[in-house]
């Protein structure tokens, strides 16, 4: 037996324990090394695949580093103006009942410029899923302060650390959203370990199941890293996140009705 046939035998279908879902496209991702966006994309693509809803799912991408999410997940996409994704999703889900509609938004997109749109979509209980990627910074524009930036955190626009007396406080938008009667499932997850990714995937599944059952809005915050914006290595970023972000933004499910 030659070496290649040997390998082919080893990687034959019945031996495979894990493969890339075909819903995740082969396009090379533009994200920085260690960026959480890529992992979250993979999770969403897998859930869509496993639930068999590729032809019924419509994603709405934000303005932010994940603006090009449509290059990576093989479904129909709408690309929204900065912060407005929940408005697009509102109309899409109302006009196309039976579809699975989700938005994918960063903290600048969702908690700052699009604060009104997300609050009202949640308050109306739109039958959609929201993935909210909180990396405590504006990644795309070069690392400026976001509403979720922690006290003392250095960013391009808080070069001496965020001074809450001047710039307000890190915003716990997920806690605010959990208070709204329109939301059904509100949870805060992360994606830095295989265990965390598995939990995130469970949450995503539950969220899309809620859509299927017409239960209303499911909101999943993912606390993530932005090594470029934070100016830390991927490994250091994870450490910093666990130490600082998880302390202020505790993981767990806030609401499940």
């Amino acid at each position: 037996m030659t070496a290649t046939t040997e390998i082919n035998k080893i990687i034959s279908k019945e031996n495979l324990v894990y493969g890339k879902t075909s819903v995740l496209l082969d396009n090379e991702m533009h994200y920085c090394p260690g960026c959480t966006h890529g992992v979250i994309h993979k999770v969403i693509a897998e859930v869509i695949d496993e639930m068999g809803i590729q032809d019924k799912t419509i994603g709405v991408s934000p303005v932010g580093c994940s603006v090009l999410a449509y290059n990576y997940i093989d479904i129909d996409w709408q690309q929204a103006a900065h912060g407005r994704a929940p408005a697009l999703a509102t109309a899409t889900s109302r006009l196309m009942p039976g579809k699975y509609v989700f938005t994918y938004q960063g903290d600048g997109d969702l908690a700052s410029i699009g604060c009104a749109e997300i609050i009202h979509a949640c308050n109306r209980g739109e039958n959609i899923v929201v993935f909210f990627v909180n990396n405590a910074i504006y990644g795309m524009t070069g690392g400026q302060m976001a509403p979720t930036t922690l006290e003392g955190q250095v960013t391009a626009t808080t070069p001496y650390g965020r001074d809450c007396k001047v710039t307000g406080f890190p915003m716990k938008i997920t806690e605010m959203i959990a208070m709204l009667p329109g939301t059904r499932f509100v949870t805060r997850q992360s994606a830095e370990t295989p265990g965390a990714v598995r939990k995130l995937k469970k949450a995503a599944q539950k969220a899309f199941e809620n859509t299927r059952e017409n239960k209303g809005l499911s909101f999943i915050e993912i606390v993530g890293t932005c090594s470029s914006g934070w100016k830390l290595s991927p490994v250091k970023s994870n450490e910093w996140m666990k130490e600082n972000m998880f302390a202020y933004y505790p993981l767990g499910t806030l609401k499940d009705e």
């Binding site: 419509i58 690309q79 929204a80 407005r84 408005a87 196309m96 749109e117 609050i119």
Partner: protein, 361 residues
Amino acid sequence: MGDVRLMKGNEVIAEAAIRCGCDGYFGYPITPQSEIMETLMIRRPQEETGMVVLQAESEVAAINMVYGGASCGKKVMTSSSSPGISLKAEGITYLAGAELPALIVNIVRGGPGLGTIQPAQSDYFQAVKGGGHGDYKLIVLAPASVQEMNDFVDLSFKLAFKYLNPAMILSDGVIGQMMEKVELSDFKPRWTAEEIKKISGSWATIGKTADRERNISTSLDLDSAKQEIFNHKLQAKYRAMEENEVRFEKIACDDAEYLFVAYGSSARICQKAVEQAREKGIKVGLLRPITLFPYPTKAIQEMLKDVKGILSVEMSAGQMVEDVRLAVNGKVPVEHFGRYGGIIPTPEEVVEALEQKILGK
């Protein structure tokens, strides 16, 4: 005779939307156009045709709901008045950039700023020259009667889908608040999912199936070379509109020595001014642009062999007059007469302005 009623222009917009098979309306209240959403809420089209009507949290949200609905190949619309249209400008340029069909109704009020709730035509530049950023154009229709409010809703959707471009109905409180006799259009059913697939399946985000690539509704291309090619495509589309879609009306122009150019409610006032001026022996006609983009440039140029002077009449400080001057290119005198800030000119004033500014009396 069909369904003849006495209705306000604003109410007719709502009724015409239901009847032409509109799928969704998204709006935010502002005077003098709130009757559009109010009428829809009273009519409950959700029960009759399945049309979705939603009061959004802001004009910004409303236009982005339109973007979402339009992305699905649906006939969707919004309406507002001047300050609200300024807020929608962002969404409008995104619609144009993503080549999405939609209807935006602007029942103009006087500005700038919060201005007045009285009628004006001071949003001409915003509607025709831009409003939002980037090289884009809207198809702009200017109804001059309640009947045209009815007719132009369906027409706007037809043009919007023909060119995959947002269309605007530019009107004001005169036409919006006035009641006239109107023959309503017959009911057309909303498009089925099958029909949408046939009409817009090549681009609409209706769910990716195995037989095609994914559809993406976007205005983004970070590659400048591709972005330039895309802009060429947009410009070619606008040239095609100029070639095929110019609409205008001529009144008493056959023997005219002078000409009024006016659109919408000003055109109605000028129609009376034509009658009054002719009683005084002044041979004046009226050219009424119906499409403001594409503009009836050629129609004005064709009048130049006969007319000795043109008065452009608008409820603004002089916006459309620039397009008249571009068309005329210095061949005959062109003057502007306008009242603004919510003041509606009387026919008598218009005749007086003609006498003073063009006849030199």
